[in-house]
């Protein structure tokens, strides 16, 4: 089994570094979608055509300019167990779509897992750069550099009017999706979140749960990304997202301060109560875990708790997902057993 290391550590190396505004912005992700001009898109490609695409893209890995990003490991989806695919999804290294539907799907993952290049997903090529904290510009700069290297080797499907041609009409043009994962507990507590989220959707941005389309916002984590890919330049898209996220950060900070000054005792109670439950509970479902971890994270960020490192919380966000729990404690866990092991895991990490 190749490169299992990617599914053994819950926390990617890139996440351990922290980043700008990391008390509110957990991570930043930029992905660009590209297709090769002479092959049908993956949905209609024959196995042989998909194999060819994979071959062509894999050859690009020999370009020495790519070495600055760390060794890229090619992983074929066909070589992976279902559980490992699930974990790669939970770590955001591949999309649920690549894990579930792709034929001849593959992913090239960099040593520190900050770069993942998906092949034969909905599009032939999806370059994805991950950064800790709030680093949209940095992530875009890296993604576009890597894009240029690929373009030197393969012929992209590009049209003067429509831009980069993609399988789904929602990606055409720049093929760019920039997203930022934010922890917004104070805006949720003060019930300002809906107002802010609906404002966000009016400026061409969209809000999703942390595992993409259709997923629920758990643990006060929200993923904000651009919706429009056609008719705006990459710079506009990045600046637009940057500006809006900056404002949301400001609102969240204000809300946190107000909560601390106006209802300090209730905040302390809420945060410490969750801290206590995480340290001692014997059964913990995923929803409660997400909510309690969010409370404790807030407690750490506003200085009410000082003995839980933020890294542990990031780690637990991944470790308490079903795939990773199965990896740690066995594949055939019943939901009841899962809740028991989840509680045990959290106790060991958070409790003393």
């Amino acid at each position: 089994m190749p490169n299992l290391r990617f599914t053994e550590q819950p926390l990617s190396e890139w996440m351990s570094q922290g980043g700008k505004e990391s008390d509110i912005v957990i991570s930043t992700r930029v992905r660009i979608a590209r297709n090769l001009i002479h092959h049908p898109f993956p949905m209609l490609a024959t196995n042989q055509q998909s194999e060819e695409v994979l071959g062509l893209l894999r050859e690009v890995l020999t370009d020495e300019r790519l070495q600055q990003y760390g060794m890229l490991h090619p992983v074929l989806l066909a070589d992976l167990e279902e559980l490992d695919k699930k974990i790669l999804v939970e770590k955001h290294l591949i999309s649920p779509n690549l894990a579930g539907e792709s034929r001849k799907g593959a992913v090239f993952i960099s040593e520190d897992e900050s770069l993942s290049i998906m092949v034969n997903e909905e599009d032939h090529l999806r370059i994805q750069c991950l950064y800790p904290g709030f680093q949209v510009q940095e992530a875009w700069d890296k993604a576009t550099e890597i894009d240029d290297i690929f373009e030197d080797h393969v012929d992209y499907a590009f049209d003067g009017n429509r831009g980069f041609l993609t399988s789904c009409p929602t990606n055409v043009g720049t093929g760019l999706r920039a997203s930022v994962m934010m922890h917004l507990p104070a805006l949720v507590l003060t019930q300002q979140i809906n107002r802010i989220l609906s404002a966000v959707s009016q400026v061409g941005l969209t809000v999703r749960g942390i595992y993409g389309e259709g997923s629920e916002a758990m643990g006060n984590l929200f993923q904000i990304s651009n919706q429009i890919t056609l008719g705006q330049s990459e710079t506009e898209i990045i600046e637009n997202l940057y500006g809006v996220v900056l404002q949301i950060i400001e609102h969240e900070k204000n809300a946190r301060e107000r909560l601390l000054s106006e209802s300090r005792l209730r905040m302390i109670d809420r945060v410490m109560r969750s801290y206590g439950i995480l340290s001692h509970a014997a059964i913990m479902d995923s929803k409660e875990a997400a909510q309690r971890l969010s409370d404790v994270r807030l407690g750490v960020d506003i200085g009410l708790i000082d003995d839980v490192p933020a890294g542990v919380l990031n780690e637990l966000n991944v470790m308490t997902q079903p795939g990773f729990l199965q990896k740690l404690f066995g594949e055939n866990l019943s939901p009841g057993e899962r809740d028991m092991y989840r509680a045990k895991l959290i106790r060991e990490k958070v409790g003393k």
């Binding site: 297709n35 894009d147 043009g173 705006q232």
Partner: protein, 174 residues
């Protein structure tokens, strides 16, 4: 509220799309949503963007269920990969890069609704788009030339004119 699709059952699925301040609302019932292959929110997989999209492509209020409209969509076909427009509007995805060419006449309204725009203004690839880059550069230079002339800065204008001539030599005759 009645379902926009069948007009019989009450609409239980509502979605609103706002692009550049332009609001579009859709109201359909579960049965019609299911018939169109769309998932219902709350079930596994959720209500994916493709489902929303195929909604956008198929909804032409007024001519819904009109047989000739459906027939027309059958007849528009990508000669490269064989996908018909009606298949495209059902799946919400193109089959190959040539689909953009064969479906071109119908794409402006769709892109307008999804993105609020129809023309790409971003990055141009170095190789595949080299002539487009030259073209954009030329447009910029010509605009600047106009400006310099109006400002009566003839020395700069002359330099720009030479630059434009030089670039024009590199454009392959089409």
């Amino acid at each position: 509220m009645q379902c926009q699709e069948c007009g019989k059952r009450p609409a239980t699925l509502h979605f609103t799309k706002i692009v550049n301040g332009e609001k579009t609302e859709f109201h359909i019932c579960e049965a019609c949503a299911r018939e169109k292959g769309e998932m219902i929110p709350g079930t596994t997989g959720g209500f994916s963007i493709h489902n929303l999209l195929s909604g956008l492509m198929d909804f032409h209020p007024g001519i819904q269920g009109h047989p000739s409209a459906a027939k027309q969509n059958e007849n528009i076909r990508c000669e490269e990969c064989g996908l018909t427009y009606s298949q495209f509007s059902k799946i919400g995805r193109f089959g190959c890069s040539s689909c953009y060419k064969y479906f071109n006449d119908r794409l402006d309204p769709l892109f307008k609704r999804v993105h609020g725009n129809t023309v790409h203004v971003g990055k141009v690839p170095k190789r595949a788009g080299s002539h487009i880059q030259v073209q954009r550069k030329l447009d910029d230079l010509r605009r600047e030339l106009q400006y310099r002339i109006v400002q009566e800065e003839f020395e700069e204008a002359a330099a720009l004119r030479d630059q434009i001539r030089e670039l024009e030599k590199n454009i392959p005759a089409e």
